[in-house]
């Protein structure tokens, strides 16, 4: 029995090592390359320390069967009845009475005092003025945030969260006072929905795909009716779209930290146009050298591509990237839209691409080549939509660097 034990133990460690390096070779390799590329910028001891950090970091992120171990950990937490779980990477996830997961902390109260940032208001107002001076239509869209209207829900008394209701409403008020066209989807969703919290994934901080589609419809109406955009209103009708529900398919950002045995996956909706579509999508990516990724096809082929068994929030078109360009080959109206966004606009951008002639989807956290002022001039943009959720307000400088190139986060 002892020899069996020794063999099993050694095999477990050795196999864990081999499989991790085999499946994670790209992460290990790029990390090591990164260190060698910048070797001359650091001292020898610092370079060695960076090498060790890189290897350790790759080990943590690409450990073989990472997900299964997190599932096991989550299962144990559920078995012992925990409502608050320190998930992977030390983030705290807790489950409220409605069985939805939230990021938070163990504190004494929920903070309802969120406000807005004068600097943000000023930058958005300046950007709006720049656009309007060039006859470019501008709108600021406030995406709804899961951490809002929390007084309508039940939480353990010791949970600390920030409620972003005030942040959205105060930003809308401040921007409207500066003549910036604002669409506060958070307030509108709360007014129209019977249960605001259920419009969001239970394992993720984002809105559900169905809710995002509702948001797309409101944005489309706003662009047409309030800003006068040349867009086909029939394309906003739900009758022109099919909905396919993938059961138990998506594990969101909160759920991924505690595993499916703590909380089951969310259902995920694939909402596709029933009308004919032809899209050309392009973005650039690459570590060692930048490559261009292009695809032409109908909506499902371009937007969903090869969907695996498990989907993610970014399965519509792509995760956040510096710039994605989509040309609607069936639309020659000439309506060119620039969408400056955070992750909440990912599914919205997919349907918006069928609504416009050309669509640029820019994420300023990653886009560091061109200022948005220059971008508008260089690409002949007709309409600019800035779409952020309230948690982004004022928290990241780069997201509001419209007139210059920021250095990122």
């Amino acid at each position: 029995m002892k020899k069996i034990g020794i063999t099993v133990f050694c095999l477990y460690l050795v196999l864990g090592m081999i499989l991790t390096v085999s499946f994670g070779y790209y992460s290990f390799g790029t990390g090591v390359l990164d260190v060698f590329k910048s070797f001359s910028d650091y001292s020898v001891t610092d370079s060695i320390d960076r090498l060790f950090s890189s290897v350790e970091g790759s080990m943590k992120s690409d450990f073989w069967k990472n997900g299964e171990y997190i599932n096991l950990y989550g299962g144990i937490q559920k078995a012992v009845g925990r409502k608050v779980v320190i998930g992977s990477n030390g983030t705290t996830v807790f489950k409220n009475q409605e069985n939805s997961l939230y990021f938070g902390n163990v504190s004494s109260k929920i903070d309802y005092s969120s406000g807005t940032s004068e600097k943000v208001i000023e930058r958005v107002a300046d950007f709006s003025a720049f656009c309007q001076n060039r006859n470019v239509k501008f709108s600021y869209v406030i995406a709804p945030c899961k951490s809002a209207y929390l007084d309508e829900l039940e939480f353990p008394a010791v949970i600390g969260l920030t409620d972003y209701t005030g942040s959205a409403d105060k930003t809308e008020e401040a921007l409207t006072a500066k003549n910036v066209p604002v669409l506060n989807l958070q307030r509108m969703l709360h007014d129209e929905s019977s249960n605001y919290a259920s419009d969001f994934f239970s394992t993720d901080h984002h809105w559900k795909i169905e809710t995002a589609f509702w948001g797309f419809q409101r944005i489309g109406e706003f662009l047409r009716n309030d800003l006068g955009c040349r867009l086909d209103s029939s394309l906003l009708s739900s009758d022109n779209y099919s909905v396919k529900k993938l059961k138990n398919a998506m594990m969101g950002s909160e759920g991924a930290r505690v595993g499916k045995w703590y909380h089951p996956k969310d259902d995920y909706a694939l909402i596709s146009p029933l009308y004919d579509t032809a899209l050309y999508r392009k973005f650039e990516d690459g570590y060692l050298e930048t490559r261009s990724y292009e695809k032409t096809g109908n909506f499902d082929e371009v937007v969903f591509g090869e969907l695996g068994k498990n989907v993610s929030y970014g399965s519509y078109i792509s995760f956040d990237r510096d710039c994605i360009y989509v040309d609607n080959l069936n639309n020659n109206s000439g309506e060119k839209i620039l969408l400056i966004k955070d992750s909440f606009a990912i599914p919205v951008s997919a349907w918006l691409s069928c609504f416009s002639d050309e669509l640029w989807i820019v994420d300023l956290r990653y886009q560091q080549k061109e200022s948005m002022y220059d971008f508008i001039e260089n690409h002949g943009i007709d309409t600019v939509i800035v779409m952020y959720n309230p948690q982004s307000f004022g928290s990241l400088d780069s997201m509001y660097c419209f007139d210059s190139v920021s250095k990122g986060n």
């Binding site: 050795v14 864990g16 290897v55 997190i70």
Partner: protein, 472 residues
């Protein structure tokens, strides 16, 4: 690098085992050199710049031991003593510069209204342990409890061997001198080593890290905590530090066994003690015996003519013990608390009582002294420790709060499990299963496998979980 990390478990350790039992299996010399290289890599992982320090420590201690041995052979006692003094001063100076100089300067500035400015010196990991091992080496050579090693690489292996380099146990040279060349790796020893390692990993990753969430939460917000929350935080820390430190020692001892080394035990269920004197024979045993053999006995111990001298000797030992733990008045006061209680126990002879009632009282008061001591130990300052302790006596605060009930409900299972694990379950199991060896073997395999997998799950989810005694 910590033992409870993926890089150690699934990269460093398997590579060490493959190298030791595979590539270098035919040569004890090369096995030792290989272990030395692994140990230096292990140490460097935490910061390459400090590797030079440990190499310097190895070199000086090696040289001093040779000089001591050489002088001893020539029967030049005074010369021998001089080399020993230089070696001890070097090790203490190293420790002082990197651990205590900032604290000393701050206190001198405060006491004498000076304005001495020095750069903040970072504390190299494990310096308290490897300097003590270095001193143990030269002192044991001086006392002829072990031979001076001609090969500096072997001294390097003794001082820097990775299982006990960062957080002990403090391995005295005389206990391992022979094992450097003459150890024997066996299936039994390796198997016991694995079991010990897994138990230690479970204690650290599953119990200590979970308890840390409670103690960190309460200690960081003690000024708003209720009395019961303060007690909960203190008890959680009491359990956390035990499982953290004894878990690390178990892993260190287990790893030593995997490579054929047998280290002495470092913990023996200390929370079952019926006196503080007994507690210190069960807690961090290697440190206690180090101070006993290298400080207390040379001062005369208890075998001195006057009681005052015994008290003085005890005072010195506990003052140094407190100081060793950290450069903060909290640690010094904590050491003094141990001295005071041990002194009172000696005076009243309560620790030697055979009365059941007194022994029961002894268990309770020992636990209370330990718990209050840990509050002092874990506090950032004496003032915050005092405020925390006042909370434990419900001075001006409510009895309970939402956090207390919430934490009890959330952590009931881990708290009960932790308390149970303070008892000698494994020796009890072993004792009661002697006749059912086969089932015991299968059961052991299954339980250890489960603990290993669960502990790895906890390690995977945690990004950063350093050991408490890492700060030493």
């Amino acid at each position: 690098m910590v033992f409870s990390s993926l890089i150690f478990l699934f990269a460093f350790l398997p590579c060490c085992l493959i190298g030791y039992y595979g590539i270098f299996r035919k040569s004890r010399k090369w096995q030792n050199y290989f272990l030395l290289i692994c140990s230096l890599l292990f140490y460097s992982w935490g910061g390459v710049k400090y590797t030079g320090l440990i190499l310097l420590s190895i070199l000086i201690n090696w040289l001093m031991a040779l000089l001591i041995d050489n002088s001893g052979k020539k029967e030049k006692k005074n010369e021998q003593l001089a080399w020993l003094t230089i070696a001890v001063i070097f090790n203490i100076a190293l420790l002082f510069v990197f651990k205590y100089v900032n604290f000393t300067v701050d206190n001198l500035n405060a006491l004498f209204h000076l304005d001495i400015q020095i750069k903040e010196i970072a504390l190299p990991i494990g310096i308290s342990f490897f300097t003590f091992q270095g001193m143990s080496y030269v002192i044991d050579v001086f006392r002829k409890h072990g031979e001076a090693l001609k090969n500096p690489l072997e001294v390097g292996l003794y001082i820097s061997f990775f299982p006990q380099l960062i957080a002990g146990p403090i391995v005295r040279y005389e206990t391992v001198a022979d094992q450097i060349h003459n150890r024997r790796e066996t299936v039994d020893l390796f198997s016991n080593g694995i079991g010990r390692f897994i138990i230690g990993l479970g204690k650290k990753a599953i119990l200590a890290n979970t308890l840390a969430v409670i103690s960190d939460q309460v200690f960081s917000q003690y000024y708003t905590a209720s009395g019961l929350s303060a007690w909960l935080g203190a008890i959680a820390y009491t359990l956390q530090i035990y499982f953290d430190f004894s878990g690390y020692s178990d892993m260190a001892i287990g790893l030593g066994k995997m490579f054929g080394f047998t280290f002495e035990e470092n913990f023996d269920h200390p929370y079952l003690s019926s006196s503080i004197t007994e507690f210190w024979r069960r807690w961090h045993i290697s440190m206690g015996t180090w101070f006993r053999d290298y400080v207390y006995f040379p001062l005369g111990g208890s075998r001195v003519s006057s009681k005052a001298r015994v008290i003085f000797n005890l005072f010195v030992v506990w003052m140094l013990t407190g100081i060793w733990h950290g450069a903060n008045w909290t640690f010094i006061l904590w050491g003094m608390l141990q001295f005071l209680v041990i002194f009172l126990e000696r005076m009243t002879k309560i620790n030697k009582s055979t009365s059941k009632g007194l022994r029961c009282f002894g268990h309770i008061y020992s636990l209370l002294v330990v718990i209050f001591g840990w509050v002092l130990f874990n506090s950032a300052s004496v003032l915050s420790a005092w405020d925390y302790i006042k909370s434990m006596f419900f001075v001006g605060i409510p009895l309970a709060d939402d956090y207390f009930f919430f934490a009890i409900k959330e952590n009931a299972v881990v708290l009960v499990l932790s308390v149970l694990c303070c008892f000698p379950l494994i020796p009890w199991l072993q004792k009661n299963n002697r006749k059912e060896k086969q089932w015991y073997g299968i059961g052991r395999f299954v339980v250890l496998s489960l603990i290993m997998v669960v502990a790895v799950a906890y390690v995977v989810k945690g990004a950063f979980n350093p050991f408490i005694y890492f700060n030493f």
